[in-house]
Each structure stands twice: as C-alpha cells, then as structure tokens.
Amino acid sequence: MMNADNSPRQPYTTYNDWYAAQDRARLIAKSKDAENIFRKTGITFAVYGHADSAEKLIPFDLIPRIISGREWRKLAQGIEQRVIALNAFLDDIYHKQEIIKAGRIPRELIERNVAFLPQMIGFRPPGGVYTHIVGTDIVRTGEDQFYVLEDNARTPSGVSYMLENRETMMQMFPELFHQNRVRPVENYPYLLRQSLASLAPPGCEGKPRVAVLTPGIYNSAYYEHSFLADMMGVELVEGSDLRVIDGKVKMRTTRGYEAIDVLYRRVDDDYLDPLTFKPESALGIPGIMDVYRAGNITIANAPGTGICDDKAIYSYMPEIVEFYTGRKPLLENVPTWRCAEPDSLKYVLENLADLVVKEVHGSGGYGMLVGPTASKKERTAFAEKLKTRPNNYIAQPTLSLSTVPILVNKGIAPRHVDLRPYVLVSDKVQIIPGGLTRVALKAGSLVVNSSQGGGTKDTWVLED
C-alpha cells in the first residue's frame, strides 16, 4: 500500500485519507458486523476432517485491496493471452498434438497424466471452448510485476466471495464508493449465464437451459454453488436429479423430465459419469459422456481440462503461450523445478530451506512444504518423500510477495496476498475487473488458502 518513502501508493491515496479520519474502534466493530452478516447469511465453507465444526466462516478483512486501472489493463492483457493459449493447448492435446510433435512438451507428461482423458481425444466441445471459467492465481512482487502462480482451469471456486465481499463493503461503507471510482463486479452472474448459454450444444432446441451441478450440501463449496444458481436464476441440480433419456440429459421436475442444454458442473471429472469414469460414483450421471460426445449437452468446464492446470504442465506454460500465440508471455511464470528431472531434484534437495515444494496434483495448500518456515525436522521428512516419489513434486522459490494492509486490533499491519481474477470464455474472453484477494492472516505467512486459515478482502480495480 505504501511507497518506499511511506507515502501511500497512488491508487490508495483517496482511501488513505478516508482511513485516517476513521475511528479504529468503530472499524473493529464494523469488522464484527461483517462477520455476523456472513454467519447469518450462511456464507460458509466446509473444512474436511473437522467433524464438529462442519461449516466455517472465511475471515473477511475490511481494508480493500486496490489496483490502479493502468496496472489492471496490463494484467488483464496477460491473463487473456494465457487463457487463449490454455484453450488452444487443450484443443491441440486432444487432437493433433502438434506441441508434442514439435518437441516442446514431453509426450509422457501428457499421456501418463491422470488428468488427461482419452475419452476426449478427437472431440471438440461446442464453440471449441474447453475451459469456460478460469481463475488465474496471481501474485504481485512490485510495481507492474506480476507472476502467475496457478491456472485454475477445472472448477475454480471463490467467486461468490468476490461478490459477497463487495456487497458487504457497499453496505458498510457506501461513502467509499462515492469517493473512489471502483469498477463493478456485480454483473458476474449475468455474464456467466450469458457466456454459458452462448455455448449451447448443436442439439439444443430453443432457448438454452442452463443448470449448475453440485455434489450436494456437504460439499465444501456448496454455498457457492447455490449462490451462483440463485444469482443466475437457473436450477441447482444433483446427479440424482438427472438421467439420460432419449439421448438427452434431463432433470426430474414436478411436471416430468425436462432437458438441460448447458451444465455448469462443480463436480470433478472422476465423478461425472460412472459409466466412463469412477463406477462407484453416486454424484454423476450415467451416460452423460455419450450425450456430450453426441453434441446434446455442453459441459462447463469440459472434462479433461485438468491437463492444462496441472502443476507439472505449469512449468511449460511460457513455451505453451509462445507456441499458440506466437508471442512472448506477458505474464511471468514462477521459476519451477520439476523434481522428476534428476538435476532439478538434486537442486531442490540442496536448497529445500529456500523453496516451496508442492504436489503436482495437490490443491488447497495441502501436502506442501514452505521451506523457509518449516522446521529442520519437517524438511528432512519431506526430503524423504521427495526422493521416494520425485514425479509427484515441483518446487518454486519463495517470491518476495507484495503485502497489503489488514485491520488488526492495534491498527493496520502488512500481510501477504494473492489474487484470483475470474475469466469467462465464450466467443470472447471476459475478465471481471477485480477478483478474490486471499490474504495470509498470520504475520509473515505465505499461505493464503482458506483451508489453512487464510482470509479474503474486497478487491478494487479503479477507473483511471
């Protein structure tokens, strides 16, 4: 938030004046109010493995993270380039595999990858779009310096927090929105619905019918699923509501079975179709993959998109972007050591204290080692895991992430953050100006995941 000379950075100047005039006790009281709003509304997520505290709140910090219009434009261009490359990559991987033939990516990395679905080979989804909704995780290390941490191209979550955080801020501090020209994010559900409907399958007759598929009320992101369905004005369905009848996916309504054209699924690939994937899955719809391949339903995101946001593939993203767009990537990748390669493994083992090591298929901050903050014992134990299954890991340096202020009892304190802007892909790429800022609430911590005690804040992109 601050420049080196301790003056507020440009986008924060108006906010800073406002903050200086606030009574801290009042802000702390407001902070409690916000928590009550979230609790009352049931904006919760489930942490698996906590039996008695099944529903948790994500802590909300009421100091917004502010991004200038100029910085945002640069970021948005980079994200757009990357998302276009991801879709081109997926199309290529499931068709001609030019990138492998060109020797830019090793074949076994794709074909031995569990996220690669042979069922998708030779099939092109409606509009050629594989990943309709992307959440690109970004960190900022300095002025105009952004790194992409992860491309979440399967079922990125958290967008409901982006919307609720904004809603809460507007309720609590309307004056801030008079003083600052903050670009709106509220139309996300509308854009999402439009974007999904525009990619209806060839077999769709009449107005496309969209539905959200959820694993059900015990899923950690259930709140978000119901919220999005509600805001879009579409049905929230579970696998048990759906059946394949006459070559279409239909939902059981009080009037009989009705066809669905576009399914925004928040269920993993594995569970989507017990006939094709995990036979024991009770969450899926038997036969939906056949309907999909026959062009009678659009599944968003497409099955098999996981191959592009896999952490092992991540390290190839600069090559991927260049291969498909013909240009250098606008956004940087974090340098990544693939532990599968002997030289890299050696380097990682020697420098474990300075690196972050992640599981290739992991998410949610589980199963990772943050070298600088881990104890010697933890590092030794982790080194053993690395040696046993090097293919399972990648390592990255810890970046000197920029910090933003959060409200604490004594005033404000700096904390590390990341940013997940949300991107919608149809015949165009739309990037919502803002996103989810996740913040590590513990001083010095770099782990922002909500499952590991991270919080969130409203994210403002200013009109210049």
Binding site: K40, T41, I217, S226, L236, R252, T254, G256
Partner: protein
C-alpha cells in the same frame, strides 16, 4: 421445479412445524406437572406417545423421568422428532432448496438453527425451560413470518404449505389419538378436576386454551373440545383447517400444471368428510376409529403427493 426441490420444501416445512409442535407438547407436559399434586410420570408417557417416540425413548432409557423425557424431546439426536433434530433437518433441507427461498426466509431459518444450537448445546436447567420453549416458538415463528411476508405465491409456496399442514394435521391427530379416552362422554366425569386438567392440557398442546374460551363461551366440555380440534374450520390447528389449506394448495398446483393426481382425490375426500360431519357423527362412529382412520389417510396423502410430483 425439480422434484427434489419440491421434496426439500415439503420436508423443510414439515420439520419446522414438528419442532414447534414438540416444543408445544413439552410446554403442555410441564404445565400439567405443575398443576398436579402427585408425581406425573404418566403425563410424560402421554407426551412421548403423542410425539410418537415412546419406543425410541425406551431403547435408550431405563426408566421414565420428567427430566429425561424433556431432554429427550428437546435435544436427543437419536430422536428424529426432538426439537434439535427437527431444526437440523429443517435447515439441511433449506440449504438444499436455498435457491427456492427468499433471502429473508433462508436467514430466519439459518438464525433459528444457529441460536437453538447454542441454546440447546447442553441440558436445559428446569428453571430455564420456559425461556427456551419460548425461544423455540419465537424463532420458528420468525421463519413463518419471513416466509409469508416475502415469498411469491407460486408452486414453491404451495409445496411448503402442504408440508406444514400435513405435519400439523398429523400432530393434532396424534394428540387426539393418545388422549381420545378423556374426550369420550361415557368415560369422563363431567366437571371433575382431573378432566379439567386433562382437557386443558390437550388444548394447551395445540395452543388453543385461550381461543377455546372465546369460541365456545363456556366451560370445558369434551364434545366441544373434540369439535374444536377436529371440525372447527377457524381453528388453525384443527384437522378441518389443515385440510382446507392442503386442498387449496393442491388445487393451485392442479390448475397451474393442468393436471391432477391421486393426491387431489384423497385430499378432497378427507376434506368433504370433515366438512359434512358433525361432532356427534364422529363420536357415534367412534372417536378412536375416526382418528386412526384419519392418520392413515393423511400418511397416504403424503405418499401420493410425493409420487405425483416426483419427489424421488
């Protein structure tokens, strides 16, 4: 609307209604034990029977004490009709159908659950009972208020109302089923103090001890009490009132969908019988038989609604 959503709404409102009814039964039981001079374990037996959970109670308890019975009715998780079980189940159903509810209705349900979870976290002290029972009635009342004030009068509303009234009819019928003998003219010793206590307890368990006086302008009389709970179309917990509501809500669905199911015929038949009979007819037919017959028809109706509207 999804069949599962209709099912969720139906059960959400059945459970909320049941939570309130359980609270009311405890209230009536408490009142009775305060009024009687001798120990009144029998009264709690009646309450557990009215709630339909006497068997489950016996599975987990060696003997019947008022403190255990109250705790069982308020908090016991193995008792599907305990207040806490019902609020849990009601709120889980509400989460499932959240997109069908207004924000106000959802929030009232969620707050009810949050507050009662705290209030019922441990055994309630005898001294705190009235306050807790009041809170249960108030919190469930807030759900009803939000629901009535904000929901569109569409199929969502209809399925919710049908759930409420099927449950309520079942509850009133059960109370009558357990206590029918005190309402039989042959057995009751008119005007005796024991009868008065019993009668008042019946009225109290449907929150009707005050309104009874307004409607019948007289002292307690068995046939009037039976009339009030069974046939009086203005008494909001009577069987007749419940069936007026069930029938009109089913009627809206039939018109909107352009299609009627078995459920419609069943509901009409029961309603016609409630409208055409006098309390004397009911007594002549046999109160006990009448009630038993009603309960089984009410259950059948629930099943037919579930089949007709593809709940599963």
């Amino acid at each position: 609307m999804l069949g599962r959503t209709a099912n969720g709404l139906y059960w959400m409102f059945r459970y909320i209604e049941r939570a309130e009814n359980s609270a009311r039964l405890i209230d009536a039981g408490l009142r009775m034990s305060l009024t009687r001079s001798e120990a009144t374990e029998d009264d709690w037996d009646g309450v557990l029977q009215s709630s339909g959970v006497r068997d489950i109670y016996d599975d987990t308890h060696e003997k019947l004490t008022s403190a255990d019975a109250i705790d069982f009715l308020l908090r016991e998780r193995s008792n599907p009709s305990s207040v806490m079980s019902c609020i849990d189940a009601g709120r889980n159903n509400a989460r499932m159908v959240r997109t069908a509810l207004t924000r106000e209705t959802w929030e009232a349900t969620n707050e009810c659950w949050l507050d009662l979870k705290t209030l019922l976290a441990r055994r309630v002290k005898a001294a705190d009972l009235p306050e807790v029972i009041d809170a249960i009635k108030r919190k469930t009342g807030l759900i009803r208020g939000a629901f009535h004030g904000t929901m569109l009068r569409n199929e969502i509303f209809n399925f919710s109302r049908i759930g409420t009234f099927i449950e309520r009819a079942d509850n009133t019928a059960r109370i009558l089923d357990v206590k029918y003998y005190v309402l039989l003219p042959a057995v009751s010793q008119v005007g005796s103090s024991i009868d008065n206590v019993q009668w008042e307890s019946i009225l109290r368990s449907v929150s009707a001890h005050r309104s009874y006086g307004w409607v019948y302008e007289a002292e307690y009389k068995a046939s009037n009490i039976a009339d009030f709970l069974i046939l009086n179309g203005r008494m909001p917990r009577s069987l007749a009132y419940c069936y007026e509501k069930i029938s009109s809500n089913l009627g809206y669905l039939a018109r909107e969908y352009g299609e009627a199911h078995n459920a419609h015929a069943t509901a009409e038949e029961t309603l016609a019988s409630l409208r055409s009979h006098s309390i004397k007819d009911v007594m002549d037919q046999g109160l006990h038989e009448y009630i038993e017959n009603f309960i089984s028809h009410n259950n059948r109706l629930g099943q037919e609604i579930s089949d007709g509207y593809r709940f599963y």
